[in-house]
């Protein structure tokens, strides 16, 4: 049960993939975390987390075609697996449950 919960960075990555949709690869995932999640990211850290998530079966990946603007290097597209979606929901449930009833967090956004 405990292993199903994600770290904050893993959760952000999975949510970013879900938000970007079908064409989620490193750049749009990092951009989504930076713009929506308001967090500076290191692309290498994103890939390290994606590797870990793929090993745990939470994301799957497929290679795209090489393109000249990337120096002839291919993109790697990521999708959230059903197991990954379950982990996101599980983490959300736990966080919301912890959130509820905390007096210090009521009535403000700060």
């Amino acid at each position: 049960m405990a292993r199903d919960l994600l770290t904050d960075f893993e959760l952000m990555i999975l949510l970013a993939i879900l938000r970007v949709g079908e064409h989620a690869y490193g750049v749009p995932i990092a951009r989504e975390i930076e713009t929506t999640g308001r967090r500076n990211v290191i692309l290498g850290a994103v890939y390290a987390a994606l590797e870990r998530l793929e090993t745990n079966g939470l994301v799957s990946s497929r290679m795209g075609n090489p393109s000249p603007e990337r120096g002839g290097r291919a993109k790697r597209f990521f999708d959230v697996t059903p197991q990954g979606l379950k982990a996101v929901k599980e983490t959300q449930r736990s966080l919301v449950a912890l959130w509820k009833g905390v007096a210090q967090l009521k009535g403000g956004t700060a």
């Binding site: 490193g26 750049v27 290498g44 890939y47 390290a48 290679m63 603007e69 990337r70 120096g71």
Partner: protein
């Protein structure tokens, strides 16, 4: 407008990174062309190379110190069928303590308790004296045996 090109050294490092992680190298180049910031590229590139070195899976490499395949040797040792042999490559007589460890130990001793060196010097002196006494005794014993044999 022409797309900016990264510095030559950064290009070489991107090529090196691409050997292990081609999509990441491509992503860095793509994002560099949008941001046009060399500082951003260097920061990302150095972090990526460090992470690659730390987290990339390294397959075990055999040193060929054992006569059997390392995987088989591990299995045999787990089953207690093969006795593990350690090879002392440090040049130190004490197993598990290499030359560098002795240097670090000496440095720490000097920094923390310099007076302990008197014990070390005393120990060496006592060892030498004991050695001389033993050699003398052995010589005396040999001459006694020879005299006894002659007699």
């Amino acid at each position: 407008m022409m797309a900016p090109t990264p510095p030559r050294l950064a290009c070489a490092l991107l090529d090196r990174l691409a050997l292990d992680n081609e999509p990441l190298a491509g992503d860095l180049l793509e994002e560099f062309q949008r941001r046009q910031s060399k500082l951003w590229l260097w920061r990302q590139l150095v972090a990526a190379l460090v992470m690659q070195a730390l987290y990339a899976p390294h397959p075990p490499v055999s040193l060929n110190l054992t006569p059997v395949d390392p995987v088989v040797a591990e299995w045999l040792m787990a089953k207690r069928l093969y006795k593990k042999k350690t090879v002392n490559l440090t040049g130190s007589g004490v197993e598990g303590i290499g030359g560098l460890t002795l240097v670090i130990l000496g440095f720490m001793m000097t920094t923390v308790i310099p007076a302990i060196w008197w014990f070390v010097v005393g120990g060496i002196g006592a060892g030498l004296a004991l050695g001389i006494v033993r050699v003398k005794m052995r010589k005396g014993l040999h001459s006694q045996i020879r005299r006894f044999a002659d007699w």
